[in-house]
Symmetry: C2
Subunit: 225 residues, 2 copies
Amino acid sequence: MSDNQLKIRTILPEPTLRRLPWYLAYVSLLHSQKVEFVSSTQIAKEIKVDASQIAKDLSFLNIKGKTRIGYEVKTLVNELADFLGFRESHNAFMVGVGSLGGALIHDSGLSQYGLNIIAGFDVKEDVVGTNICGVPILNMNEMCQLQKATGTEIGILAVPVEHAQEAADSMIACGLKAIWNFTPYRIKAPENIVIQNTSIYAHLALIYNRMQECEKTESPKNNSK
Amino acid sequence: MSDNQLKIRTILPEPTLRRLPWYLAYVSLLHSQKVEFVSSTQIAKEIKVDASQIAKDLSFLNIKGKTRIGYEVKTLVNELADFLGFRESHNAFMVGVGSLGGALIHDSGLSQYGLNIIAGFDVKEDVVGTNICGVPILNMNEMCQLQKATGTEIGILAVPVEHAQEAADSMIACGLKAIWNFTPYRIKAPENIVIQNTSIYAHLALIYNRMQECEKTESPKNNSK
């Protein structure tokens, strides 16, 4: 029982979970610069998050800062990485190995954050049976079997939009518990399935639109000079 | 003047900008299924966004739905893609061609959304002078020259965290106007620079944590059976 309790991390509010990786990035940087201690005020200055918010976010961790000295950087790096699950290895399937799926398999960064892609799945005959960076690409109909054999729980969805729901349904039917959805399609799933939408192309729309905003607000300034 | 006005898209609230690509994904799917008309109620049902919100979001576009029939699917696809800037070609630099940067260059999907990566930049001698999928990899110190020659405004940042700020500073100094930041580092930049953070690894923390939440809430249910 106590072993189980140790393994179970606290369930955090999403905004906290979104900020913790920023802190980790910053304190990892400090660690590489041989800095030994950091205060929440100092992190606040860098990250532009309120110091009290940072202290509150970090209070979920098993770490205490010292008055006037702050947090020990090395311990903070370790606690954050552990807490965020980046130090464990989580098996995952890549579903759809077109351009984006293939690119994500190429990205060894994912394994540094604990994600271990053990197989890719596709329906296209010219890719099934091949491998990408050593990751075998199998036919979609082999997914359930490999899920059972490996207990894989995470699936990365990177199929064309028109197949997104169908592929997600297959993933769930095969026993996957979490879908990391890289398509802009809003897939439907039972409530006990974790869905994380990471629609990188949608972010392009934000960039394009914000760039116009800057052009617009800059023009009058330039004219007035 | 009227030409300019035509080119300038409306500046939208960010939540609207985040939703429009979902609508585009869904209506593109309908288009591929030869569906001719769609109502905001129908979109609402699929996307789980309020129908009145959808109508409001779409009111920013140059398109009118017809009573009882809805929007013409083909026109809606075209208007959304145009409006979101996906139909124009935007030159971009990839700054940092390690694992993730290299993977993003591999992803031809970006060009389908209007992003044309014309060069990669790095400091590592073993990659400078090579090319990835035909995209030349140059030394960081050649960036300003190529920016001037091409007028490139968008830079994709995918360097290690410890070089993120320094690389961003160089990008801004070279005249880039927007930074698509794939690092978890919160870079600092003048207000007129567009920053879009897309920290895909941070999303992994959300998945890992939410999966535990499901395990926790499921256990009692299973026990009670």
